[in-house]
């Protein structure tokens, strides 16, 4: 990937994070949180998106972000108050912004009508004057507006790690928000005096960039006052000596002019005054260069560290050729980075700028007389790098390819096994436990465990990243079907392997759509039914049984069982006289070809039924189930494996085999007494545990390792609870102990085996199978014909 592209990719990754921040802030605001910190956080997110977009010239994105940002700024300044209405518009605006980012990323198009409508809505929030001015920005020379942000944000991003960055924005944006003192048309020319202070350079801002930006607003004439530059022997590399006077013609408002200086305002002396034509002509200095030349001169200046020739020339003849000769003055500031970066938080970027400076200085050396134009590409890269920099500097995270993490996890998994094998060998060799070798091994074991835990933590991530996409979906679906929906989310911090997270999105989306479209009633129906007009959909994640369970629960009408039954019959899915429990009827909706919606709707009826959802979940090794109560709502639960490689298990033996039962399934273990075991119908055994009868499953028989069951009294019963809450007792010969095991897939090289969840490798290097408790329990309940359970009492 070429470096620019990779920087761009980083930008989009950051955009995702920013959009997430923005949305959580907006959701808090929707709940009535009008704390200024929340609003600031949202503002910052939008602003940073805009800023980054500027570096890449994503004009559509910038334009929309700008309007959005303006509204938020109104809120920050207290001109616009938070109401439900405002929060809703902002939330929708955040969706549109996300669309823009997505479109910019994929190079696709955004729905123009929607954008325009959204801009109109946003502007509707702003008072009349402000709206008018915005309109000007929008409809007028949009290029200028976009260009503004084309690189000013670069300045911001270098600044941003400092906590005071937002304050800078506030001031500037307040200025921008203030109505222009005079109608722009009446002010054909502005006289801008710009005197940067040393602090501005120290923050890696460049006068050249600001001036070039100013040039984009209209015709400019730039004059440099280098009078303050001291003789060489008194020249301090850390000081700023230059002042520029710019005459800007064009019908721009003062606010627009000031906006250019938005990010450097605090670090320079700035005067913006209107001037008459005559005065301008008169004061126009001879040394004024055209903006390009001037800009590049300054650029070269910034880039040319110790161009002694030019410097000497400058000292010798300070008035003869000011523009190019001025070069050295600001140069030391930019070129003294070895000293300067210490105070700059974004040292990475400084490094980039050093590189740029060096390049520019080389160029300069080659061309000496003519100030070189800095390589635009290098320039652009520096900007991009600058834009990409702050997040890296601000949050101590790194991005790593998932592949690399996977390789590490696999290697650590094998390390754990090898370590366990080694321990066992040493133990078997009869070395004393206090021997150096044994002690060293103990330390090794601790270390190994620690490494393993750390590595696992790398890939485990909270489901938050998926959950956070859902509020938007719910809003959109609710709008589409005209229902009022409140989304409640629980367990966002439940951690699950990254690979699983990626696969969660589709099923959750589908279940939410289904809950809103089919589960919830219309507001009128709800009120008629004595419920609030607003329906509640609850999305929750939790760990259960070594798996992650995602629940989608609504408080809607529940499953209409007679109707479901009717449809199933009409479609020939069940026999007319079938006797079905409520539970079985509920589960009919998972049958292929079943759809309860009378009209196939746009939302959940895209030809994808619950059967497809079920199949896709099963394909991931997951299960889905539904519970429903008429009039009260339904709950879908899906459980997916945490493909993470480790599991706490109880090592048991059955039929001479060593097996592992996931500890999370196990409730207790006990030694059954013969009189507690009873037969039902001569074959199926149940065991009475504290007056409750639960099925007793002989593991050795259930897995087909032997034909004759173990006499219950000679084994150990392990009481387990399955996913669906069903209990059963697994009869094994002995419990060997409890340990953490590394999950190894059987499917990778062989295939799925019913009743076996996976395999693992034990300390002796042999493979042991991990029991799929749910499958064993379910099998016993459904009585698969192949498995016969005969209990000999």
């Amino acid at each position: 990937m070429d470096p620019f592209e990779s920087i761009k990719a980083t930008f989009f990754q950051e955009c995702e994070e920013l959009l997430t921040d923005m949305e959580s802030g907006l959701l808090a605001m929707e709940q009535g949180d009008d704390d200024s910190e929340t609003i600031n956080a949202v503002f910052r997110a939008v602003h940073s998106v805009k800023g980054g977009a500027g570096a890449f010239g994503l004009e559509e994105l910038i334009r929309f972000a700008h309007v959005f940002e303006t509204v938020l700024d109104e809120m920050r300044s207290g001109k616009l108050h938070l109401t439900d209405e405002v929060a809703k518009v902002l939330l929708r605006a955040s969706d549109v912004l996300a669309d823009h980012v997505a479109a910019a990323r994929s190079g696709g198009q955004v729905d123009e009508g929607r954008t325009v409508g959204m801009i109109a809505d946003l502007q509707g929030l702003i008072d009349q004057d402000r709206a008018a001015e915005l309109g000007l920005n929008e409809d007028g020379d949009s290029g200028a507006v976009e260009e503004d942000f084309g690189f000013v944000p670069v300045v911001l991003s270098l600044d941003e790690p400092a906590a005071d960055a937002p304050e800078v924005d506030v001031a500037a944006l307040m200025a921008a928000a203030a109505p222009p003192p005079e109608a722009p048309a009446a002010a054909p020319a502005w006289r801008v005096t710009f005197r940067p202070k040393a602090e501005m350079y120290a923050k890696a801002n460049e006068a050249a960039l600001v001036l070039r930006e100013l040039a984009r607003l209209g015709d400019v004439e730039v004059a440099l006052d280098a009078g303050a530059v001291p003789p060489l022997d008194q020249l301090s590399a850390e000081q700023a000596y230059l002042t520029w006077t710019v005459r800007l013609s064009g019908d721009k408002s003062e606010a627009e002019v000031r906006e250019v200086f938005e990010f450097v305002e605090d670090d320079c002396d700035l005067e913006v005054t209107r001037e008459g034509e005559a005065a301008t002509e008169a004061s126009e200095p001879d040394i004024a260069a055209d903006d390009d030349a001037s800009a590049s001169a300054v650029e070269a200046a910034a880039g040319a560290p110790l161009d002694l020739d030019a410097l000497l020339a400058r000292v010798a003849a300070p008035t003869e050729e000011p523009a190019p000769a001025a070069a050295p003055a600001p140069a030391p500031v930019a070129a003294a980075p070895p000293a300067a970066p210490a105070q700059d938080p974004a040292s990475l970027d400084v490094a980039g700028l050093i590189a740029l400076a060096e390049k520019a200085s080389q160029d300069h050396a080659q061309t000496q007389a003519a100030p070189p134009k800095a390589d635009p590409k290098a320039d652009q890269k520096a900007e991009a790098r600058a834009a990409a920099g702050p997040a890296t500097a601000a949050t101590p995270t790194i991005r790593v390819d998932l592949d690399r993490v996977d390789r590490l996890i696999n290697a650590v998994g094998e390390l754990v096994i090898q370590q366990a094998m080694l321990s066992q060998r040493v133990f078997e060799s009869g070395l004393a436990r206090s021997s150096d070798v044994a002690l060293g091994l103990e330390d090794l074991e601790l270390l190994t465990r620690e490494i393993q835990d750390s590595v696992m933590a790398i890939r485990a991530q909270p489901v938050k990243s998926v959950f956070q996409r859902m509020p938007r979906l719910v809003r959109e679906v609710a709008d589409m079907v005209g229902k009022k929906v409140r989304l409640v989310m629980d367990g966002e911090n439940t951690e699950v392997d990254k690979t699983v997270i990626e696969r969660l999105s589709d099923p959750i989306t589908h279940m939410l759509r289904n809950a809103i479209d089919h589960g919830l009633e219309t507001p009128e129906e709800r009120e008629a039914g004595g419920k609030g007009a607003e329906g509640t959909v609850r999305l929750a994640a939790l760990h259960r049984g070594g798996r992650i369970v995602i629940e989608v629960q609504d408080d809607g009408r529940g499953i209409n069982r007679p109707r479901v039954r009717g449809i199933a019959m009409a479609k020939g899915l069940i026999a007319e006289d079938a006797v079905l429990s409520d539970d079985e009827i509920d589960n009919l909706i998972f049958l292929p070809g079943f759809s309860t919606a009378d009209v196939v709707s746009d939302i959940s009826g895209r030809g994808v039924g619950m059967d497809v959802v079920k199949r896709s979940i099963q394909a991931l090794g997951g299960r889905i189930s539904i519970t429903s109560e008429p009039g009260k709502g339904s709950k879908f639960s899906m459980s997916l494996p945490l493909t993470l490689a480790v599991l706490d298990g109880m090592v048991v033996s059955a039929a001479d085999q060593t097996l592992v039962a996931p500890l999370s399934n196990i409730v207790e273990s006990l030694t059954p007494r013969a009189e507690d075991v009873h037969l039902i119908g001569g074959r199926d055994a149940v065991i009475c545990i504290r007056d409750t009868f639960v099925p007793l499953i002989d593991v050795g028989v259930a897995l087909g390792f032997r034909d004759t069951p173990l006499p219950p009294a000679s084994g150990v019963a392990v009481l387990v609870e399955s996913e669906g809450g069903g209990k059963a007792a697994l009869l094994v010969e002995a419990i060997q102990g409890q340990r953490q095991v590394v999950i190894k897939s059987l499917e990778a090289n062989y295939q799925h085996i019913h009743g076996v969840a996976a395999a693992t490798i034990l300390g002796d290097g042999r493979v042991a199978l991990i029991l799929d408790v749910d499958a064993l329990v379910t099998t016993s309940r459904r009585k698969a014909p192949r498995i016969e359970k005969r209990m000999a009492v």
Binding site: N410, G413, E414, I417, Q657, T658, L703, G704, F705, K744, S745, L746, E747, A748, N749, Y750, Q751, H752, I753, H754, G755, V756, A759, I761, G765, R766, V767, A768, L769, R786
Partner: protein, 155 residues
């Protein structure tokens, strides 16, 4: 004549020959990853008798197929003298239990004769062809059929 030669050169390949009982078989050397001694396998529930179980191959779970049983030959319990050929079949890696690896054969495809009709269905399924080598008969195994078809689908 030239054509034949070119063809022969183009389709020349190396095969690994191995023995099960008194019969000789071979597979393409490119699909063999390694050869190792027999180690007791962990049996898998509900599997056909020719699946001996799984072993630990440096952290990976490797299923072992008793090739003799798969071909319908009489086999005895594996001993330490038996060997496991670790082979790639498509995306998977499996171990084939055989009596001994005997030779590396360099030969061209045009010497392979189609399996005669006399062979039983079971053998025909797994044997791609036959050829003669120093008066012995060697059968070329079709590795992709060694795993039962239903299982391949299930994956």
């Amino acid at each position: 004549m030239t054509d034949t030669v070119t063809q022969g050169v183009a389709q020349r390949r190396e095969l690994i020959a191995f023995r099960i009982g008194d019969q000789e078989f071979c597979v393409d050397i490119m699909s063999v990853r390694e050869i190792r001694g027999w180690a007791p396998a962990t049996p898998l529930p509900r599997t056909p008798s020719f699946v001996k179980g799984v072993i630990n191959l440096r952290g990976a779970v490797l299923p072992i197929i008793d090739l003799g049983a798969r071909l319908g030959l009489n086999t005895s319990e594996p001993t330490a003298r038996h060997v496991i050929m670790v082979v790639h079949i498509g995306e998977r890696t499996i171990g084939l239990l055989v009596d001994a690896v005997s030779d590396i054969i360099n030969m061209s495809d045009d010497l392979v004769q189609p399996t005669p009709d006399v062979a039983s269905d079971q053998v025909k399924t797994f044997v791609k062809g036959l050829f003669a080598l120093d008066g012995r008969m060697v059968s070329l195994i079709a590795l992709d059929r060694v795993l039962p078809e239903t299982e391949a689908e299930a994956a």
